[in-house]
Symmetry: C3
Subunit: 304 residues, 3 copies
Amino acid sequence: MIFLTTLLLFALSTSAARYPSFGTLQTTTSSGVLNVVINNTFSSINLFDFHVQSDLANLIETLQAPDTDIRVVVFSSGNPDFFIGHIDVNYFLPGYDSPLPAFDPFLPGVTFPTALLWNITQLPQATIASIEGRTRGIGNEFLMSLDMRFATTSPSVLLAQLETSFGLNPGAGGALYLAPLIGRGRTFEYVLAAKDIDAATAAEYGWINKAFDTHAALTDYVQALAARIALFPAAGIAGTKQGINAVSRPSLDVIVHEAQNVIGVLAQNPEARAFTEKFVVATDNQSAVELELNYGEELVKLFQ
Amino acid sequence: MIFLTTLLLFALSTSAARYPSFGTLQTTTSSGVLNVVINNTFSSINLFDFHVQSDLANLIETLQAPDTDIRVVVFSSGNPDFFIGHIDVNYFLPGYDSPLPAFDPFLPGVTFPTALLWNITQLPQATIASIEGRTRGIGNEFLMSLDMRFATTSPSVLLAQLETSFGLNPGAGGALYLAPLIGRGRTFEYVLAAKDIDAATAAEYGWINKAFDTHAALTDYVQALAARIALFPAAGIAGTKQGINAVSRPSLDVIVHEAQNVIGVLAQNPEARAFTEKFVVATDNQSAVELELNYGEELVKLFQ
Amino acid sequence: MIFLTTLLLFALSTSAARYPSFGTLQTTTSSGVLNVVINNTFSSINLFDFHVQSDLANLIETLQAPDTDIRVVVFSSGNPDFFIGHIDVNYFLPGYDSPLPAFDPFLPGVTFPTALLWNITQLPQATIASIEGRTRGIGNEFLMSLDMRFATTSPSVLLAQLETSFGLNPGAGGALYLAPLIGRGRTFEYVLAAKDIDAATAAEYGWINKAFDTHAALTDYVQALAARIALFPAAGIAGTKQGINAVSRPSLDVIVHEAQNVIGVLAQNPEARAFTEKFVVATDNQSAVELELNYGEELVKLFQ
């Protein structure tokens, strides 16, 4: 790897930020590559709560700016146990309070988190996940919204869509990206059973691009890939993404009607609400307890 | 595997059955899981004939009932050599007689077998195949209509779409499900060449979810998976299936126009009809002779 | 392999050829199989230039004839280093001269090379690539237009979409076929980074059907597969292809709007034009120099 790295603090123009800033994303730039470390200091499990959502929405707006010279974005985590957490499930309970609007101001009928992930897929930059730690629920849907996914084979890397165990579904459309990646059969298996998948199996199935044995191997590969793509003209990156997106991404209409609106109905079911409340209590409101760390195995206890 | 199994005879309300009952499906239930053993006693190769089709149609109607407590359905076979056979090819010859209507009463223009497989994909339950024995032609299309597929690596497990060798095509749409599972290239290879695939290769390519070395390993895995899914609320299972189906299943319109209606035309060709008649004679009307057991290799003899 | 091969010179009715003939394709027939050797004697890298395009267009017209008895077409290469080259990049520069029309006469708005590849997907015959040598850019898009792809694991087999490095995109739609074959994530990785893929990895991901250790193993497998398919009635082959194409191929409309027209705009960018001119000079106008042989590694030098 022979590229010189000049780390510069990437100055989010916070004065112009549309949404509140919570400092959950640390960013550095280097020759057209933006490295983003996700570190939700409000949560021990790097929860995908309104803090992270708000900061991500501001980041996206910056990346959409026509004068940006960023051509590749790499996401990694500041929490060794959780690349990124699931959604704050209080979102599905009465009394949830958030500074974010319920719906995206530019995409009528699209909820804020669903629009967030959709907007990520629309970015002109190449986007890459460098995964260490657990990534479940909307965390995995966030992975799906990125162009590429790499991980280590550490036992702490566990990916899952856990919604069905709640009586819900992956409401931001994550399973709709998973089906063309790993096939209809394995999507049903992992999503209907809310099963964890490890990195080696995920790479074998195509859920992620590739798995590496060490942190160093992962980082070297991802940074070299990012630096290489960042050599190329921005217009070619965006133009190539347009074609691939056109055939490999569910339409926003399908995401809204077959995922987002479905979870909207399911979340009203007393059975789903009771399970969610039980989960909040059992996890000490979504903290790094065994049930969160090892949900794939532990969830059965919630049904005993 | 720590769930208690209470086997109960699942009482199909035969009084209300829409179609004749032939007893080709043995069913038992256990905590929300329905186990279905396919055993067509009218055929030595577990033919997917009108007996099986009629019984499956009645089963589907039961599973569609709003008050069912079945959340997962597992299909296995009572015939060690054939998980399920191909269609009774007399269906394509003059003089074929069946108690079933040619077209589905609720899906105008959709033939009975095509509608049967479509209706399986629409079930609110998770559906799983536990495959031992050969599964060719519409047998494999039946596999495609299920959510998940598991098999043993026994040499008796051979999957194929054999229609092209007859001058036909997979008329119920099976190849249209296969393409997103194993890719366009391998679908053309296996379907155009009417090639058998073994379980290990099928698992490598994604045709099935996973292959197991023994009957016990297969059964343990499938029953544990079924029991786990059956823990979850029915609404979440159905809602999650809706989204995955929306992106991973060919539309019924495409199945009808690009598969069903194509075979309708092809079956009229004298070349296809002559081959079908030759096949009926050479197999002793589709009995467990070498040509049926080992069609992938033996078929070349029919062209000599 | 027990089939007898009678090689006959396949007489292209050159009198009726729509486009100029340049003799870049050598053809032989054997029992319904047409073997086509691509050997562009005008180029040391088997360039996909107007000579090859013109000859391919004439070949397609022959294969579309209703009275043909060809049921399978196998493409191999006469150049040991290049299965087929990329496009003659002068196509994107002012002053390019060619005897071919800019647009297909029967597909309004579709450029000649884009239409050529589309027409290949429409052939009633099964089409197979037997790959030895490098295959990049439109060369790989040509591979994508064929039904099946097989290769040797020789280090000379390297597949790539190199367009993004030029500030362009795969303009004939190749990446749109790649996404359902290898998944959205790996497509972004290889296409955005203009990375070479070797045959073993390509077979693991599904980019090609299978990789073989030797020329003999490749040829035996492909010829046996071709001979087997050629046993079957032509109508069944064409009818089966219709269904698989309906679900596994991007529509021509998507190819035109999301690939062809995108490259039409990108090629006007000064950055893309400057890189193309630099490439022409650095490769001695696309000859078998190190930069062409090993573009995946060497390209970084063009950005220094």
